[in-house]
C-alpha cells in the first residue's frame, strides 16, 4: 500500500444512521470449548427487542494492540480473544421468535481490525436486526484456541430504538 495515498474517507458518512446508543458486551468462555457445540449467549439479556444497527468485534493483536489483552469483569481477569482465534468461531443471531437472522456467520466478519497488520479499519456494517441474545449462539469450528482461559469476546452493539 503506497505511503502517501490516503483515500478521501471519513468515519461517518451520510449513509450511516446516527446511533443513539451503543454498548460493549463481553461473552465469556470459562471452560475449554468443544467444536461443533452451540454456546448460547445467556448473558447480556439487554440485547433483545432492540433493532440492532451495528455489530463490532474486538480482538487482541500482539503486533499492533488496539484492545487490551486482559479485561477485568466483576473481579475476574479475562483474556481478550486473540485475532488468531477469530477465524475459528461462527455465530448465529436469533430473534425472539426463534428465527435465525444470520446463520453460521464467520465471527471475524464483525472485526473492526480484520488484518494482522491492522492497517485497515473497517467501518461498522449497517444492520437492521432485532437480535435476542439468549437464543443466539457461538459455535467453534476449531476448538484449539491460542487464547488462554478464561476468555472474553468483546462485541459492541449499536441500536436506535427500543421496543415497548
Amino acid at each position: 500500500m503506497a505511503d502517501n495515498i490516503r483515500l478521501p474517507l471519513i468515519i461517518q458518512n451520510s449513509n450511516q444512521p446516527i446511533y443513539r446508543e451503543n454498548k460493549l458486551f463481553y461473552w465469556i468462555i470459562t471452560q475449554a470449548p468443544v467444536a461443533g457445540v452451540r454456546y448460547f449467549l445467556t448473558r447480556n439479556r439487554e440485547i433483545h427487542n432492540f433493532i440492532t444497527e451495528g455489530i463490532e468485534l474486538y480482538t487482541y493483536n500482539a503486533l499492533t494492540p488496539n484492545f487490551p489483552q486482559t479485561i477485568e469483569l466483576e473481579g475476574v481477569e479475562y483474556n481478550t480473544l486473540e485475532i488468531a482465534d477469530a477465524n475459528k468461531i461462527r455465530v448465529t443471531w436469533v430473534d425472539y421468535d426463534g428465527n435465525w437472522l444470520e446463520l453460521d456467520k464467520p465471527l471475524i466478519s464483525y472485526n473492526k481490525f480484520p488484518s494482522l497488520a491492522n492497517n485497515v479499519l473497517l467501518d461498522t456494517r449497517n444492520y437492521y436486526m432485532r437480535i435476542f441474545a439468549p437464543r443466539s449462539y457461538f459455535v467453534f469450528n476449531d476448538a484449539a484456541l491460542i487464547t488462554a482461559l478464561p476468555i472474553a469476546i468483546p462485541m459492541g452493539f449499536y441500536w436506535k430504538t427500543k421496543m415497548r
Binding site: I10, G36, N66, N87, E102, N118, N126
Partner: protein, 168 residues
Amino acid sequence: MTANKQVNNLPYTLTQLPGNNNIYLPRNDISIYRSYTVEVPLNNVGVGAKNQFLLNEFLQSEATGSVIYTGVEVWTDTQQSVTASQRTVVTATDAAKLAITLKWGQKEIIYLQPYIGWVSLINFGMIRRLDQLQFSLSDSFVQVLQGGIIGAKSALFTFYFKPVTRGR
C-alpha cells in the same frame, strides 16, 4: 506513534505502522436483514469441475424463489478456518483457482465470477451488493479453473437476503 480516537463512544487506539497509513473506509450502504452462510464442498478439484452447494432444507425451500438476494461475500481460511462440516476452507491461493456461477433456473445470472473478487475482507470489507436478485442455489456451482487444490476443502459463501413477500 499511536493516537487515541473516540468514535461512536468507543475508544480506538490506532498504531501508525512505519511507512503505512491507517485507512478508514466507509461502509457499503447495504442494510443487512438476514444472512445465510453455506459451503460448497470441492469434491472434485479437476480442471473444469463444477461443485454444487451443500444442500439443506433452507436451500431446498429457497429454490422456490422465496427470497431475494441483496449481497454476497465469500471467505478464505484466514477468515474462517473450518466449515460446519469440518472441511478446511479454501486458502487464498486456492481461491484464485475458482470461479462462481449463480443461476436462476436455466439462466446464468452470475457467470464465472472470480472467487477471490468476492472475498470482502481483502477488498476493504466491501460486500458485493446485488440488485435484488434471485438464485437457484441448487443449480449454481463453483467451478475449478486450475488444478492444484489439495485436500478436502470447501468454498464458503455468505448470502444476504430478505423475503420476497415482505418489505424488509
